[in-house]
Amino acid sequence: MGNIRVIGPRSSGKTTYLAALAYQPEQTKRGGRAKNYTIQALNDETRELAAKAENIIVEGDSLEPTGLQYRTIDELPFYSFNIDVNFILGKREGINLAIRDYPGEIFDELELGLANSLYQEFIDECLMKDVVGCLILLTEWKKGTDKSYSRVLERFTELMDSHDRANDLRLAVAMSKCERGELWPGRLDPEVDLFDVHLPKTKATLRAKIPAKNLRFYAISTFGVLRRNDPRPNRVDEMGTDGRNSVLREARRWKPYGMIAPLYWLSTGKRMKDDA
């Protein structure tokens, strides 16, 4: 079983991403092109998350932040999936994933230097030896963000080092919410068209610290766009929330992009053809 952690700043879409994974909007629809993977929720928490996707996201609202309602790491939700990937010529491969969703505050705290013992606990757990990799979701690119992400990730690599994980922890670094018009065209080659363009410093920091074989860049869009030839984002931003809360625009067109490839790579170290 591949243990994976999902980290990223507040409102970077971590829980929504996992909810979409648990709910599988396309599997619940009839017709459409068969996908090259199937997902099964393996525990109650994951099934509960799938129900939330159906009761909240499909109904046009956003999930609550995975905030400070958790007092110890054991209270944090632990999701468990089985993903069957179908390859050409009928070959199949199943991977089991256990994924822990961390509150965004932890990421933010990294920049300030982990004053809180609870955050220290989170990090210790995040960097345990049986964790094969981290999915890092990043979401902003406005002025100053690149610098701040890069500081946070530099700090994270130091922690990897001090936990003796510098050379054996895979990092899948993804730009989330890629349905946004500025990002969507860059999804096909995210390292060059998203990270070099919007977060060059962040990328350079990671490249300098992490062995090339353990670092990959991805583009993820949990909501996707309306149609293949109508790439308007399938989302509505809420008034006055500065983009923190966005909801699905058309539930029946919900088609996430790039959800599986990073997990597959984190878990197996092998690349997967695009899963859109």
């Binding site: 009761n55 499909v58 046009g60 609550e64 008034m239 929330t241 699905l248």
Partner: protein, 252 residues
């Protein structure tokens, strides 16, 4: 203690009556199983005046255990919360300064609650039905000024509120209930509108004067976006909506 959902709002806006009516056995998708409607009515109704009693300010909060079944898209789900009622009197500045300890206790309760339902009355700028005397309502300007103070309350006193629901109550006085319910109604197998669209619909028709204030609340409160509703004890679909909304998040 259970999760709490607290009703706040000025005097005579119908907080208690609105909450009580939720227990009416003639329900659609929200069924209260822990309270007996007739019994509750007996407790809250004043037979001598023929009206519901004002909730007394000798206590700042009144808690009742509420066990509800809400029919969500994934099926019937149980929601167990404390229904916390507040007397309208406590929202007056004078009461707050006369009773600082009770006021602080109330603030703690509100801060700890899962959801806040703010019940607000109609104002004179709405399109009232014939025969309704406008004198009993605030002018639109007064109403907006009062709303500004609610904005301050949310920003200063509960910046971590998780769910804020604002109900413009007594909708029977100023709109065609049937027609609005037809537009807004919830259906577990696919509604005409989703939550964001319902909110946008209600906002553009009934909350225009306070649009910028709502924006301010969203900016300064860390929880989810505010949701606006119109409610009336005379229309079950509209009455249930805020609870179906809250139920989606609070369901076990």
């Amino acid at each position: 203690m259970e999760l709490g959902v607290v009703y706040i709002g000025d005097r005579s806006t119908g907080k208690t009556h609105l909450a009580m009516e939720l227990a009416n056995p003639n329900n659609e998708y929200v069924k209260v199983t822990s309270l007996d409607y007739e019994n509750l009515k007996q407790q809250l109704y004043d037979h001598t005046t023929g009206e519901f009693r004002a909730t007394g300010a000798e206590q700042a909060t009144y808690d009742r255990y509420l066990d509800i079944l809400v029919r969500l898209p994934t099926g019937n789900r149980q929601v167990i919360v404390d229904w916390i009622d507040t007397p309208g009197e406590v929202w007056r500045k004078t009461w707050q300064s006369d009773n600082p300890n009770e006021w602080n206790r109330l603030l703690d309760t509100v801060r700890q609650s899962e959801g806040i339902l703010l019940i607000i009355p109609p104002h004179r700028g709405l399109n009232f039905k014939q025969g309704i005397s406008l004198d009993q309502f605030m002018t639109q300007q007064q109403w907006c000024n009062r709303f500004d103070r609610w904005v301050d309350f949310f920003r200063q006193d509960c910046p971590k509120a998780r769910h804020i629901v604002i109900c413009l109550n007594k909708a029977d006085l100023f709109c065609d209930l049937q027609q609005e319910a037809f537009q807004l109604a919830y259906k577990p197998n696919g509604s005409q509108l989703n939550w964001q669209q319902r909110h946008a619909y209600v906002l553009s028709r009934y909350f225009r004067p306070v649009q910028s204030q709502l924006k301010q609340i969203n900016k300064s409160v860390s929880g989810l976006s505010v949701r606006c509703f119109i409610t009336s004890i005379y229309n079950r679909s509209l009455l249930e909506l805020p609870w179906i909304y809250l139920g989606s998040f609070l369901a076990k």
